[in-house]
Symmetry: C2
Subunit: 339 residues, 2 copies
């Protein structure tokens, strides 16, 4: 009538030692096939399910990985990456009895505290790092804390942290070449905040592609990863003379913010100006004209990142330091047209 059956109960019912029951249930060597099967049968019959707490304490693992989000309200509302990303994470960790712990930090400082607390209390065995910044302070902190971590980044490297890399450069380059092919020669870029590595990677890809084509890299307008940045860039663009005829934006929301504002100002897209985004969020298909963009694959990224983290938790020495996820592909829609 206890309501809860422990491994002790299973062992007793199967008439084996607790250690044998444990080995049998965890598919560890050291028990005969017959014993294993009997124990498993008994366990199933009794409805045994191991309590994570016991397992955690004895195996000195938390069976959890952490993800810390900063400024969640804004970021999450605007980050289409997040939902698909954690779905991928879940796919990778669930089979290993791992769970995802989500922390929300209200500031950069509190963000670092979150990692410190997770490490100190060993609530998680490792963490995933998103939205990597230039000289990201988290890398040093995590090394100091000796907390396994995997960075998700489009950049080649991230301060010696193991990483999963989905480059955005090929997509940005493809978008830029697409515009060049359409006859554009004055192709601007709306970049993100300078602190993020994404910003630099995309900026460089845009620039390199233009240079390669023998074109002068047009103006760089300051935007961000949200709608507001696109709007601001639009204001800036409207004051430009000569105006660029095409704009490669750092992401979809920014592109949409730009497009909506330019349309409000009376411009016609793509007739007056062509626009490309990056991400492939749903609303890009709904705006008029629909947004030409690069479809990234956040679920794949999340899955690979979590899998890599588990590998590093398991054995840092034998785990790879870098996993590449194929870059997103260009999706051509109505927001881009002939010069």
């Amino acid at each position: 009538m206890s309501g809860r059956v422990s491994i002790t109960d299973v062992a007793r019912a199967a008439k084996v030692a607790q250690s044998s029951a444990s080995a049998a249930l965890n598919d560890q060597p050291g028990v005969s096939e017959a014993t294993r099967q009997r124990v498993k049968d008994v366990a199933k019959q009794l409805g045994y399910a191991p309590l994570m707490r016991g397992k955690m304490l004895s195996s000195k693992r938390s069976f959890q990985i952490g993800l810390v989000l900063e400024r969640p309200t804004d970021v999450l509302e605007s980050d289409p990456f997040f939902g698909a990303f954690i779905a991928g994470v879940e796919q990778a960790i669930a089979p290993h009895d791992y769970a995802l712990v989500l922390q929300v930090a209200e500031s950069r400082e509190r963000e670092l505290d979150s990692y410190r607390e997770m490490a100190a209390s060993e609530r998680v065995d490792g963490v995933l790092l998103n939205e990597i910044r230039v000289d990201d302070p988290r890398a040093a902190l995590l090394a100091e804390l000796r907390l396994p971590a995997v960075a998700v980044s489009p950049w080649k490297e991230c301060a010696n942290l193991p990483m999963v890399c989905q480059a955005s450069a090929p997509g940005i380059a493809a978008a830029t070449r697409h515009l060049i092919k359409l006859g554009h020669t004055r192709i601007a870029h709306v970049c993100g905040p300078k602190e993020y590595v994404h910003t630099h990677e995309r900026l460089q890809a845009w620039e390199a592609t233009l240079v390669e084509a023998g074109l002068q890299p047009g103006p760089v307008l300051q935007g961000d990863f949200g709608l507001a940045g696109g709007t601001a860039a639009a204001e800036e663009l409207l004051g430009l003379n000569p105006s660029p005829t095409a704009v490669v934006c750092v992401n979809d929301l920014c592109a949409i913010g730009l497009q909506l504002r330019l349309q409000q100002a009376g411009l016609s897209i793509p007739k007056d100006i062509s626009i490309t985004g990056f991400d492939g969020i749903t609303i890009g298909e709904y705006v008029t004209p629909a947004l030409t963009t690069v479809q990234s694959t956040p679920t794949q990224v999340g899955k690979q990142a979590a899998a890599l983290l588990l590998a590093h938790i398991d054995d840092p020495k034998s785990a790879p330091m870098k996993v590449e996820v194929p870059a997103g592909e260009l999706v051509i829609r109505g927001s881009t047209g002939r010069r």
Copy 2:
């Protein structure tokens, strides 16, 4: 050189028993103020931080609450509620050393399995339920599992589950009255999927408000909580004769989908048709015209829900069964105008 200091080390260094150290550090009665202070000093000096695992096992709690998301990719990309909601959750639980465990289910069945697993392994002490459905199977399951749960719902009740309620009816009613005041008499509603209680609550609020004003509740168009539903409703609306002159949508994304499609069809908003949304998501401010909506407060809801869950975990008998969060307020923008 162990690198990790346990409560045993603290007790030894402070020359007290482990039990005294524990009581001192946890602010439990049974130690003198002098001892408490000494233990705390020693702990700080040694850099002691309790390991969650030990605490979990001995106190028979996981110090974690769970949240299961279904169909994450779509839902999360479209759900503006989520980011702000978990920020609120975090605000409530962090001070109590609780953490949020996020599960992602790929189907309705797997969703129930998630709860079963969390309960069986006692990975969490309780769960939060979002997006409550009519006759939601989760309510019965959680009762059966005896897993503390708090439902987040706009509805008056949820199958005997403790709940946090932010009614949407007042907001929908306000939006509807706003349209009536503008002279509209044929006011349609785009509703969500019938399975969600939100859908019914908002539908009823719209209907009751019209009836109260002596108006005939106009057509109800089938939509959903995403852009696609708004688009579909737009197609339906375009075939209507006479056409409604205003539409109350179940949420912002649906409203935006509707607006964009109607504009594509050549209609002018609000000249030809006025539109209202619900939620107050950022992009509603950026579309042209900006969307009249109801600003809900998901962070507050998350905070209250988590606080209520902790109260029920702590003592179900003394915890309230229902907490109300003030309803969202109408925000009038450009998408609504005079008939």
